[in-house]
């Protein structure tokens, strides 16, 4: 087998280019290298102007997401060898504005995340004197949704988030669901107001790609469908008992 592989990397310089283009680099094909190692090789040895994000190199920080041969993946967890003999195409995540090369603008996602209040909301002035006891079953209820690392691969994979930039999107809804299911939380009602709007859960057409690409085993699609059920129950309730606190 060849001991090098060609990486076709998408390049875009906002001040110079009107369109992104691909640049090919020949990099060593090492058995223990991830795609991120190849990008770092390019940056260190071949072209220092290449821009991309990374930090932890262990699938925790969620910053190294890119499109590899058309599929959104964490580059620090994707073996280069899997694409031999190549070439491998590396581009920025789809559905996000590109800042430069492989770096995308995350502001819109951050704003959506804030909107759903992904933290424990208390309505009473509960001041815990000690740890809040949770049973294993109560933990199990939200655990998988708490594993999200905000890598936004699910946004890049979701065709609806590509069509409608207002869609709150998989990870934000999964995180809202994570706090709703937490026995310590009392913010369900506030979140429902945001999430049950059209741009919340109802924009989702159950394509399911978010759950397929998630590197942490989170199932945002499940969260959205469970949330649809809750929102529908609430809708019928407010329809039958229209005395709400508007």
């Amino acid at each position: 087998m060849a001991d090098t592989i060609i990486l076709e990397v998408e390049r875009f310089h906002p001040e110079r280019d009107t369109e992104p283009s691909y640049q090919s680099f020949e990099v060593p094909l090492r058995a223990d290298w991830m795609v991120l190692d190849a990008l770092n090789f390019i940056k260190d040895q071949l072209d220092g102007s290449l821009a991309f994000r990374w930090s932890c190199r262990m699938g925790i920080c969620g910053s190294c997401g890119m499109t590899i041969n058309g599929v959104p993946k964490l580059t620090c967890e994707t073996l280069l060898m899997d694409f031999a003999p190549g070439p491998v195409r590396v581009g920025p995540l789809d559905h996000f504005p590109v800042v430069k090369d492989l770096v995308v603008e995350m502001d819109d996602f951050m704003a959506k995340l804030q909107k759903v209040r992904p933290w424990i909301v208390r309505k009473d002035d509960f001041k815990p004197q000690r740890e809040f006891i949770q049973t294993p079953a109560q933990l199990e209820a939200f655990h998988q949704f708490s594993l999200c690392i905000n890598c936004t691969l699910c946004y890049a994979a979701c065709p609806v988030s590509g069509l409608d930039s207002n869609f709150i999107g998989p990870a934000a809804i999964a995180l809202a669901h994570r706090y709703n299911l937490d026995s310590r939380d009392q913010g369900q009602e506030d979140r429902l107001d945001i999430i049950s709007q059209h741009e919340g859960i109802w924009d989702c057409t159950v394509v399911g790609e978010c759950s397929t690409v998630c590197p942490k085993g989170v199932d945002p699609s499940l969260a959205i469908q469970q949330y649809k059920l809750t929102a529908t129950k609430e809708w019928f309730k407010s329809f039958l008992l229209p005395r709400g606190k508007n």
Partner: protein
């Protein structure tokens, strides 16, 4: 709760969801029995008279009405989403909703009419 700004999508999603259940679990039984098994002789054919007698029971008619109505609305919702997203027709959403759900309503009314006139 400020239900005012909430989407009205729950109603069509509810019809879609229940319709999905009927379309997945019940419709195949009918297709299997009356569409394949009876005509191909894989199961003893109850024949016209027995099927007709079964249809005389109001419960059968009620069941068929529920089955057909929910399946129509399931199909309508799926069609609307497929057309608006896959064919990129989101800007025509109101027209699509009108045509798809309108079609389901017409189908449902036709089913009621047929179930009512069969004697």
């Amino acid at each position: 709760m400020s239900s005012a700004k909430r989407s009205n999508e729950p109603i069509v999603w509810f019809l879609f969801g229940v319709g999905g259940f009927f379309a997945a679990y019940f419709l195949p039984i009918h297709i299997m029995l009356y569409g394949l098994a009876f005509p191909l002789g894989l199961a003893p054919d109850p024949g016209y008279d027995k099927t007709y007698a079964l249809l005389q029971n109001p419960l059968t008619r009620l069941y068929l009405f529920v089955l057909i109505m929910f399946c129509f609305f399931h199909a309508a919702h799926r069609m609307r989403l497929t057309l608006s997203d896959i064919l990129n027709m989101r800007h025509l959403n109101t027209i699509l909703a009108f045509v798809c759900y309108g079609g389901a309503i017409v189908g449902t009314v036709a089913a009621i009419w047929m179930l009512a006139v069969v004697h």
